[in-house]
Each structure stands twice: as structure tokens, then as C-alpha cells.
Symmetry: D2
Subunit: 440 residues, 4 copies
Amino acid sequence: MTQDDLRVTTLGERRVPSPVEHRLFTPDNARVLLEVDSVEGAEPSALGSAATDAKPLAAAPLMFEKAGPREHVYFDPRKSKAAVVTCGGLCPGLNNVIRHLYFALRDGYGVPTVYGVRNGYLGLTPEAPQPPMELTADWVEAIHHQGGTMLGTSRGHQDPAVMVETLVQLGVNLFFPVGGDGTQRGAHAIAKEAARRGVDLAIVGIPKTIDNDILYCFQTFGFVSAVTEAERVIDRAHVEAKSVPRGVGLVKLMGRNAGFIAAGATVASGEVNFCLVPEHPFELEGPRGFLAKLERRLEARGHAVIVVAEGAGQGLMDGLDPTAVDASGNRRLGDIGLLLKERISSYFDGIGKPVGMKYFDPSYYIRSVQANATDSLLTERFARQAAHAAMAGKTDLFVGYWNGRIVHVPLAASVGKPRHMAPESELWSAVQSITGQMRW
Amino acid sequence: MTQDDLRVTTLGERRVPSPVEHRLFTPDNARVLLEVDSVEGAEPSALGSAATDAKPLAAAPLMFEKAGPREHVYFDPRKSKAAVVTCGGLCPGLNNVIRHLYFALRDGYGVPTVYGVRNGYLGLTPEAPQPPMELTADWVEAIHHQGGTMLGTSRGHQDPAVMVETLVQLGVNLFFPVGGDGTQRGAHAIAKEAARRGVDLAIVGIPKTIDNDILYCFQTFGFVSAVTEAERVIDRAHVEAKSVPRGVGLVKLMGRNAGFIAAGATVASGEVNFCLVPEHPFELEGPRGFLAKLERRLEARGHAVIVVAEGAGQGLMDGLDPTAVDASGNRRLGDIGLLLKERISSYFDGIGKPVGMKYFDPSYYIRSVQANATDSLLTERFARQAAHAAMAGKTDLFVGYWNGRIVHVPLAASVGKPRHMAPESELWSAVQSITGQMRW
Amino acid sequence: MTQDDLRVTTLGERRVPSPVEHRLFTPDNARVLLEVDSVEGAEPSALGSAATDAKPLAAAPLMFEKAGPREHVYFDPRKSKAAVVTCGGLCPGLNNVIRHLYFALRDGYGVPTVYGVRNGYLGLTPEAPQPPMELTADWVEAIHHQGGTMLGTSRGHQDPAVMVETLVQLGVNLFFPVGGDGTQRGAHAIAKEAARRGVDLAIVGIPKTIDNDILYCFQTFGFVSAVTEAERVIDRAHVEAKSVPRGVGLVKLMGRNAGFIAAGATVASGEVNFCLVPEHPFELEGPRGFLAKLERRLEARGHAVIVVAEGAGQGLMDGLDPTAVDASGNRRLGDIGLLLKERISSYFDGIGKPVGMKYFDPSYYIRSVQANATDSLLTERFARQAAHAAMAGKTDLFVGYWNGRIVHVPLAASVGKPRHMAPESELWSAVQSITGQMRW
Amino acid sequence: MTQDDLRVTTLGERRVPSPVEHRLFTPDNARVLLEVDSVEGAEPSALGSAATDAKPLAAAPLMFEKAGPREHVYFDPRKSKAAVVTCGGLCPGLNNVIRHLYFALRDGYGVPTVYGVRNGYLGLTPEAPQPPMELTADWVEAIHHQGGTMLGTSRGHQDPAVMVETLVQLGVNLFFPVGGDGTQRGAHAIAKEAARRGVDLAIVGIPKTIDNDILYCFQTFGFVSAVTEAERVIDRAHVEAKSVPRGVGLVKLMGRNAGFIAAGATVASGEVNFCLVPEHPFELEGPRGFLAKLERRLEARGHAVIVVAEGAGQGLMDGLDPTAVDASGNRRLGDIGLLLKERISSYFDGIGKPVGMKYFDPSYYIRSVQANATDSLLTERFARQAAHAAMAGKTDLFVGYWNGRIVHVPLAASVGKPRHMAPESELWSAVQSITGQMRW
């Protein structure tokens, strides 16, 4: 990657003085370093296996454009129309994003019209179940006290030409798609189509993924709320497991490609003995296999709590079609939770030491909760900075969260590159320490 | 400040192979950049008032030592004894820190003895109400489900010579003081005394401040839990204010020198109309004074929610002795909550438009709660990295949290330099946007 | 009291067949016994001091009219208009009551118009800040997720003639005042005025009191939600008290004339050592005084948690005008919380054993919370049965909750007769057992 | 049933003066009426279909013995030993019961030894995984902050002779089995065996059932906590269902034979459109079948929330062996949740209108939570009154909760007679009103 890959597209020159009241502007050449890790001296010292991030500081290190209100903006706020759309699976904080965007645009800039597109990208097509609605202060006032999205959502691909046409018909010049990798891919297609047609439309995505697996988003909104709910489920699995002889609490959590929720909830809870994630394949059988480890744990401590991410252990599934996909184009997964439940029960039945199996599949429960304070704060930052970026005429980007700053990430630099939990990361290291799962 | 100020003291050469199982070591010359903000080009572009952090990258930027397990450690774990002490006011996560330290030392390194010092530094003196206790797995097992500190705490200064003597008598070589600026000052004095006496004692502080005002700690544990509780209080103040004609919900929150809790809860809640913090003095009277603004708000909207940090508006107090201090050496504050309550009521009585005043002073309520998931995760990082640092023979430092990494901060570089919420910070900017308090 | 005092006023003959779908009707002569306690044999056995309720069953025991849907109703639902008003202090569940009333009337009976009167009885006068609003399904849909009352409230007396006139102008024939003793007194006055004018208006009150002190309401909605919040405050006071040497956690709770919240939270928490209520005067000084007891407790156990209801210990106040009243006609109380805080601190300072005083005054915090499941269930019962009673032409009553049933209580039989926590009640007995406060 | 069936067995004459401090004793002939419903006049008025409870007051109505402290007790407290055991599935409040029993016996009566039997009745046999432990104040101090039972539990029948022998060996004279119908059956067998052997042993059961289906227990502890958790799941199902076109939120809840949790959570939530319970069989197919109703609802409103108790719709299962039972002797159930999930999806796929199916099976999640305030208060009553009953030498009974009072229920009068939700009950009527499920 080069610095050019991180260069943000701008619609044109900023001439309109910003009406933002508090006048604390960010210069347009402000930047945020991509890398904060380095070493002292020419080389990492010997034998640090976590040393991948540790290398001497480059002469011209890569930098992101820093988000923030600009002193002059591209669009005349009073003549602007904005639209926000929420796509894909639910995530705590969607209503906060809608609410904060509305207030940032209307109170901050005086934008007179903010549309809410209903039911995801589908709402920008003739098949829309409901037309876009004009948001009002009354309507957004208390929506952050509810989970989900008051605008509705949907999955699946829509034709960018159709969507651009709808936006043009509505007179929208500021467009905010809130969604995950597929949604941002769609946003990129919309931006290209708008450019092709010469439409003066700023597209600023807001990344959303309960799985926390978007590149250049150190933490996505909703993640901590989901971890909080997952932690509660784990605590109850622990209560159940401890209450019976040879009790096993087995919890399946979200995480198709990345184990962040499973790992985060494991560390937050402190009660988990085995944490299984997509990033780390494992065996069931054999003396170093999972079942033998579990047997040793149960022998020693009388109960066990297991957390498994839905995308873990896919290699253990027989007859799974690895090319099958769902409506959003995501790979179909086998149900690792049920597989583990059955394999554990039959293994211990087989050796004459049946377990007290307590299986928890909270499924959507952990994602449909209202955003907590952490996520509420994060949504405010994403939404406000997205409003600033769009008003400044930036486009074809999303607002990322990197090294503690909100930054402008060109969509082309992130989409299609999911983030994983690195084996050498502090989080995975914490999982190892706390579970002691290598020990058995 | 120079790079030498960030140089960490080490007791001696690391020769003992680390027993840590997962073998993902951090090289000892790994570093973390102090600054991540920069500009593209030679200068910040004109007129960015938030430009203080935006300057060209230095040729040799300042760097912190990066925390992490070292492949060789200084102390022989099997011959080590550790002690942890919690000092000062309560903060969500203290029990988590104790628990994680215990497991990191005992399970991670095999340290056979971990003492819990009772009632703060007082517990290291002959006046101790209770002697240090030897922690056990049973005792720490479920303590993270409770707020406060199971070891007890106290305020005030103790003689470093006496404390070092107690630690020597106990045979402690790894010492973890958990506390705020005063506590870390004490830790620095202990480290100096230990060095003077030639005692082989690693002092690794863990910063604790509900007010989030410690330098080089981007976020301290307990802060978000407190903000969460504060947000709840604000939501109820909003409910009360809306329910009566001319309702005023007034909430006093913690924050002696820094308004982080008030600001964080204001943004998280989204229901606050005025947020008053120590960093921004304000007037009550006059056409631009607070009371006139409140009058305009009430006229326009019929109700108002006000959040005030306890350290705000101290200039408004008559007859306050600015030199008075409490047992911890903190400045005595006048009660700005009660003053506002009375001044608001009498002002509106005076103009014949009495308000429905609902005053909330949650006081200790917001700090004695159990740590939430965010803080639980953060305590694990602080505690584990503190254990690694001490085992590696690092001393006279605390574990800071900077640019998303845990770093080693020499005590001399931080103590006595409280952190404030900068006027140009994103948080204060968010407060301005959300409250619209400049608008009235 | 005689059976005639429990006789309910009816506007006229019920001729209209009820449209309620599930057709499970309650006969109009269904009754609920007032007393369920009795004795076997002619007399209570000797020496049972709780024997006040234990007496032989009367030949003709007193009975309440039982609430429930009647097969024929008095009003034609399609020609009816209803109005609901919420008065006095906030209480968890007010929004649930509004929502359930709306659905019971509109979906259950097909009543086309349900008004929400704004800001209490004030909203039925020419001084109303806002006119009555017509409720809609959209408006009530999610209000039960918020505390307070979306209709607003107010305190104070209004002229019944004016209010009846407003109701007549609106065409209202079903009127539901939700409020405490003062509100029900007002409802009784409205009912008398309506009868005097010959207006065909059913007045069915719904009792509301956070203090749980309404006669013939075994439990009022909101009480348990408030106790839950109060319990949390107590738990935190316990955390604070335990954390410092000689720590005292002092919690002031609502309860002007009755100590139900203080007692309920004391028992629910299980962490309280002294519970002080209006029903039981106490002394501060002397060897059997509260301060000496507290001294003995602190000597023995090192910390103490004290709960005091706001109406307790009023006899200890100097210079309190016992005739002073507030806008709702309630007696003005001295601040027993602050008095105790100061007296405790100075007493222990005086004997050279200063305490670590942690004072909690949650005030409105415990009443502005959303209703919990218990209260949500209770509000549904009150609201639905109130709708049935009004449709049946019953008037000048409120729906009470007695012996597990919802009953019709003539207003004249309850208003002005506050309920207290009897010394021999199981609740007060539980307080004694759990605190052991008689023991010191 | 006759009054003799409600007569309580007593071990012998009470001669020992009670040491209970607050001296508010209940006379031994105090009684509580079984029925509180009646009619005025000779007959219920015509056509009240809920009239089953409405009948003229009997000359000699049935009465329960009223629980409470007796002035003289049978056992000498100082020479007594007590034991508590928790059996069967988890239920919120078990730890509260243990804690309150311990304090009632030790602090209230001065009983020096209270054993905790581990892992249910299994802990009273030679196969016990762990021996009974002697409870201490430290051990019970904070257990009520955790869900589950710190003593562990188990399912299944044990030999009464073996259990009595273990109790005799331990010297126990006060025995408190906490559990459901199976457990109380076991308690009855133990009482008979003890009587046969002439052992001076008081057996006082404490009823426990998350399903709320024990006769003469109007409400069991843990029920409301479970409803609260279930309500949360329903609210999230509602959030999910509303968010997508034709969204269906399907929630399976506990309730093998009785639908109390499903009904309670339905009413508390207010967001449910169909509530399916064991008491009301239903059809899937046909114009009045469930699927057609659901189709009409989705057509009209675009989304639906369905709650189903696990014991509902068992008649719809093919090939289910109606005689199969589990370890506790409970009938094996088919999985109605999965069946509905599949049948709904295939039905709507079949008519070309696929639904967005969101399935929630919270399973153990709702029962392993900590007790809330309501249940905490209830456990205190059960535990304290059980201690009083046992000290008074009452045996072969459990403490019931009837008409707002705690009463002594002879085990023979209740076991084997599960309680159901009556069709004419107020709760089921509320379900009908709120869901409007008869309407589609």
C-alpha cells in the first residue's frame, strides 16, 4: 500500500464558510499515522514473536486524513438534502447514528431536509416496501433508547444505477450508508456510478459490524454492547455449569470470520475455560484434541465453560458445501454449537462419565440490545465526523477509527479486506492467559 | 520533554526464561509513538483552531516503551512474593485488577504468594487496622462481581521508609500500588526509598482515577462504568424535567479538576442542554450569563437538563478558602450543585416564572458500581501488563494506556501533571454540538 | 365501617352487550372478602402479639365488589370518549397505565377517542399549558420503555366545576384520574360535581403512590420498581461503607408517612443494619439511643449501613413548623438525612473515632425509572379493570388491589386514610430480623 | 377436600420460650381463608363465565394454618442442627433462600450449626460428590448477588431411608428441602420414614418452581425474575421482527405444563401478538389455524412476535412417545420451538411470501439470573417462616403463599397436583386482550 491508496476523493473546492458554531476547525492537511508501533534501534530485539508490528519508523510513514469540521465546506448547507440508510444485520447503536446524524446536519449545519431510507438499499429501489421518510426532531428524539433500527433494514445487492437515480430524484447531495463490508462495497459502487453520471453527491459510509471485523476500524460501534450481553450469557452458563456435577456450559456467539466477540466476552467475563474462534482451527479427537482437554479439565475442576464463535471449527463439519452463500453473499456456516453439544455429550457418555450439558445459543439477543454508553459515545463520533466529511465534499470514503482518532478511509482501501484477531494480539494473548486453555 | 524522560528504570539483567505458556513475547526495544497526529506538508493549513496536535513529524519522535511479556525475566517467579494495594476513592474495576493480578502472577508465572494489603498504604504501617492477607483462588474467584475493593482502601500520605520496611519484612519483591496521582506519588517515593536502601523491589503502579485525569492514560478503568451510571441519572433528570411545566433537571457529577465524566455522560445521554465543567469558567449573571441562557432555553423548549461537574464554577463561591485541602491533599471545593440549585430557583422566582427544580446528587453512587465489560477488559490489560513489567524487573513506573497500547510510563514523567479535557478536543466539541449550549 | 360504605355508585342500567372478544365475564354480584385472616376456635390463642388480624370469621363479613368485564355495559362504546390524566409526583408505570388504558378502550371496546390531558388537573383548566391531545396507537406504542409520564403532570388543587366543564366540552364520558390521595380526593369532588350537574360521566381512579400508602391497595404500581432502584443504592452504600475503616453508608429514601420503600429495600438488599421509618420514632442520644447503638455496631463490625425514610425522625428537628405544607397540601418535612449525617459525624468526632461518612440522597432517581416486569403486570391489571368499570357505568371509585384481586373501592371509603406499615406486619418483622437493629 | 386435609403435623408440645427478639408472635390457631371470592346474594348473577370462584360463602370455609413465629417452640435452639438442600433445576433466589435460612436460624434462634447439603438429595447418599458443609456467615454473606445455587443441585429420586440415616448421623433435627413437586414428594417420603423410625426431625419444604405451577403457591420465588429476563428476550425479538419486511420474532420460553412465564412475559412486554401455552391446544393448518392467523397479521401489520411455552402444542408432534420421561420423571417434550420455526418458514415460502424468521431459544438464560427485588423479598418470607415452622416442631409441610399470606401446607395436600393457568384467570384474559390473538 502507498500513500496514494489513502488519498481521499473530493468533489471540488470548499468555498462556503462553515456555520458550525464552536469554530474549532481541523485543517485539511491534518493527518493521523497508520502505525504507532516501532522499535528503538535498527532491529527488533531477538525472539519477540509479537514483533510483527515492531519495526523502525519509516522515513515517510503512511498517514490517514484526519476527520473534523473544516472551516470552509463544499456544499451550501441551506440548499442541501441528506439521506441515511441502515443495511444488513442489526447492531447496537444504529438508532444513535441516525439521531446524531440528524442533529449534526440540522442543528450543526442547518441542512433543512434529512431523509431516512427504509429497509436498507431496497428502500432506494422501486421495490421499496416503504418510501423514504423525512426525519423530524420529534421522531428521532428518543429512538436511541431502543435497539435495532427504526428505519428498518434488509440484506442483499441492489443496482447502483437505480439507487443513484432515486437519490437524484430526491435531490439528495449528502448520502450516508451505514453498514458492513457488503454495504460499503455498495457505497463504493454508488460513488463510482455518481461520478460516472457527474452527480454532485457525497457518499460517506459509516462502518457497522457486530463482529468488529472491518479494516481500519479499531473498534466498531455496537461491539462492546454485544460483548456486554455475551458476557451476561457466559456468566449464566457458568452458574449452570457450577451447579451440577460435571456441568458443562456451552455458549455459541456471533463471529463468522473473526472471534472478537467470543474473545472479548471471554476476557470480560473471566469465567471461560475454552474459547474457540475462527482464526484458530482445532481438533476434537486425539490426546491433544479438544475433547481430551475438556476431560482433563472436568476431572480436575468438576465443571467447564466453553465459548465458541459461530465461524469456528468449520473444518470439522462433514458434507458442508464450502461454496454455499446466503442473501448477502456470506458463506453458509455449519452449526458448530450443535455439533459440539452432541460430540461432547456422546464422548462423555461413551467413557461412562456423562456431563450435565447446558447449551446457550443467544443468537440475535446480543445484537438487538440498545447501545451502551461506550457505543453511544462512539456513534456520536462516527456520525458527526461523517456529517463534516460530506459537507466538505469528501466522497467514496468511510469514517474509520484508528489510533484513537476518527479518520477518512477511502472505500477502495478497506472493502473486501476483513479484519481478523491476530494470534499475537493482546486480546488473544489475554484469552490464552485467562482461560489457560493451552494448559490442559 | 526528551526521550530520556520516558526511559524506564530496570533493576538488572533479565536472565530467567519466562514460564509464560503462550510464548508471544514483546521485544524489549519495542516502542509506541507518543504522537500520532501530524500534517501533510510543512505546516498546518491556515485557520484550523484544533491545530495544536497537527505538526510535521519529528525526525526522532518521542516514544514509550511498549508493555508486554518479555522472553527473559529478572526475578525467579518461584522465589517471588507479590503485594497489591488499593488506595484512595473507589473506582469500578478495583476488584477486577486484584483478581487479574493474582491470576497473572500465580497461573501465568507461578508466583507462590500474592499478598493483599488492607486499607491502602495505611495497611503497610504499624497503624494498619488489619494485616496483609495472602490471597487465594477461592477468595478472588467472584470478587469482580462486586463494586469497591475487597481489600479496603484509605486516603492520605504514609512514610515511604515505613512502607518499604513492611514490604521487606514480608519478603515482597513485586509491588503493585493501584491508585491516583497521590498514590503514584507515594509509589515514586517508595521506589526512591527502595533504591536508596538497595532493596530489590519492582514497583509497578496501576493508574486509577474515576475522573480520567491521569497523564498518559487515554482512558482509565472505571471511567466508562461511571459514565454509564451518570448517564442513567441524567436520563432520569430528563424524565423529571419533561414531566412538569418549566422543569429543570440539575445533576451534579464527579470531576474535581477535569470534566470528563460530565462531558462523557452528556454525550452518551444526548439529553443534556448545559454541561458545566472545571475547564470552562462561566458567569451566572448578565445577558451572556448562564441564567439568561437558561431563561431563553426554558422559554423556547419548556424544560432543561443541566450537568455540572463538582469542580466547575469554583470562582462563583464567596468566602471559599482556596488553600484548604482534605486528607489526601486535594483542594476543598464549594458545593456548586447546591449553589446552582439555589441561584436558579431564586432567579426564576424573581422574574415570576418559578421552575420545577429537580436536583440530583448521585455522589458515590456512580463510582461504587461493578465494572462493566469495557472496564473489565481494560483492567485485564493493565493488570497483566503490570505483572509482566514487574517480573521483568522494571520499576518506578506505571502502566499507561496510550494510542491503544499499554505502555511503561516512568512515574516521574506523569505524577503531579493532571490531564484536562482540552477545549479543542473531540469530546468537548461533541458536548458543544450536542447541547447547543453556545446557541442560547 | 359497614357493607354500605363499600357499595359502588352506578350511573344506570347496563343494557349494551359488551364487545369484549374473549367473553369471560365477571358477574356483577361477584365479591372479594375484605379479611382473609381468622382463627380456629372462638378466640386467638394467648399471647400472639400479631393477633390483631386474627379473630373469628364474622357471620356477614365485609366484601368488595370484584372488578372484571361485565357482559352488558352502560355506555355505547362507539359513542364514548375517554380521557386520562396523570397527577402528582412521578411513579414508575405511568406510561404503562396510559398505554394499557388506550388499548383496553380502543381495541377492547372500540372507543374511538381517548384524550390525554396534559400536566395533571391543571390541563383541565383554562390555565393549561397545553390542551388535551388525542392519543394514537403510534404515540402510545413505545412509551412504556420510558420512565415518567409522557402526558406531564402537576401538583395542586383545581376547581371541580371548571374541570367538569372542560370534560363536558370535550364530550368525555369516561374519565380516569391517575394519582395519589390528593388526586383521588379531586376525583371524588369531580364525581360529586358531575352528579350535581347530572352529567353522565364515569370517574374511575387509578391509585398511584410511590410510597405504597393508599388504603385498600396492598401494592401500588411503581413500588417494586422504586424498591429495586433503592436496593441498588443501598448495595453501593454497603460497598462504600465496607471499603474504609469505620465506614458508614447512610441512605435517605422516599417515604413521607410510611416506611414501605425503606423497609422493602432493606429486606431486598439484606445489607442494612439500621432502618428508620416514620412509623417508629427514635432517639439519637442516650444509652438506648441510635448513636450509641451505631457506636456498638461499628465497634463490633467495623462498618454500618443505615437507611432512613424522609419522613422518619421528624420529632428530632428543632424549629420545624408542623403546620407548613407544600403545593399539594403535604406537610413540609425537615431533612432527616442531612441531620443524621451531621449528628453522626459530630458524635464520632467527639469521641475521637471519626467515621468515613458516605451519604446517599438518590431523591427522584428511584421514582423516574421505567416500570419493571412486576409493575408492568400490575399496571395492566389496574388499567384494564378501570376500563371495564367505567364502561359498566361505575363511578366515584378507584380500582384497588386487595387479597390478590382487583376490586372496586368507593372513593369515600379510602381517601384521606393513608396506609401505614403496621408494627406487627410481616414486613416490619422482616426488617427487625434482617437488620438485627434491636440487638445493639 | 376437607379441613382435615389442611391439618398440619406437629412433633410435640411447644415448651421452649422463643428467643426471637422482636416478640411479635403469631398465635398457633391463626388461620388464613382458602377462598376470598364470593358473591352477594344466593347465586352468581347470570352469565358470568368467570363465575367458578364466585359462590356464596360457606358456613365453615376451609382455612390454612398461618405461618409465623410462635411464642414457644418445640426444639431447644442451642441444641439444634439444621440442614438445607437445593434440588432440581435452577431458579432465581436459591442463594437468597440459603442465606436467609442461615441468618434466621443462627441470628434469630441461635442455632449453632446449619449444614448445606451439596448437589441435591444426592448429597445425602453415599454417592455424594461432596459431603455436607457447615455454613458460615462469611460464606453466605454475598451469595445472593449470584444466580444459581452455591450448594449445587441434582435431579432424580434417592432412597428416603438412606437420606434419613444421613440426617440422623449428622444430628440434624431441622431439615429444609428446597425444590419443586418431585422434591416435595421426596420430602414427604422422608417425613414418613422419619416418623416410622421415630426420629425427632422437622421437615419443612420451601417450594421452588420457575414455572410457578405449585398448588397453594400463588407466586413462587424466581418467577418474576424469570419473567423479567423473558420480557427482555421478547423485546429484542420485537426489535428484530420490526426491522425487516415480514419479520417474525419467535421466542420459546420455559413452561412444561403451565404457561405462566409465557403469559407473564407477554403481558409485561406488551409486544407479543401470539402467546401459545400448554393449557390451550391449537391447530396449525386450516382457516382458523395458527398459520392462517399469522398470515393475516403479517398482511395487516408487516411483522409479528410469537411466544411459545415449551410444553405447548405437544399434540402437533409426530412420533413423540408420550410415555418417555427424563431423570426427574418428567415427560419428555418435543421441541415446539423448532417445529414452529420450520413450519412457519415453509408455509410462507410455500405461498411465495417468505418471512424474516428470527428464532430465540433463551433456554437456561432466564432461570440462572440473580433474584430481583420482588423475589428477594419473597425468599425472605419463605425462608424465615420455614425456620419458624421447623422450630415450632411442625413437619411434613411446605410453606405456601396464599392470599398474600405465608401458610403451612401439608405436603400431602399439594404434591402431585400441579397448578395451571385457568382459562378464566385474569392473567390469561390479559394475554387475550393484549395480544388480540383471537382477532385474526
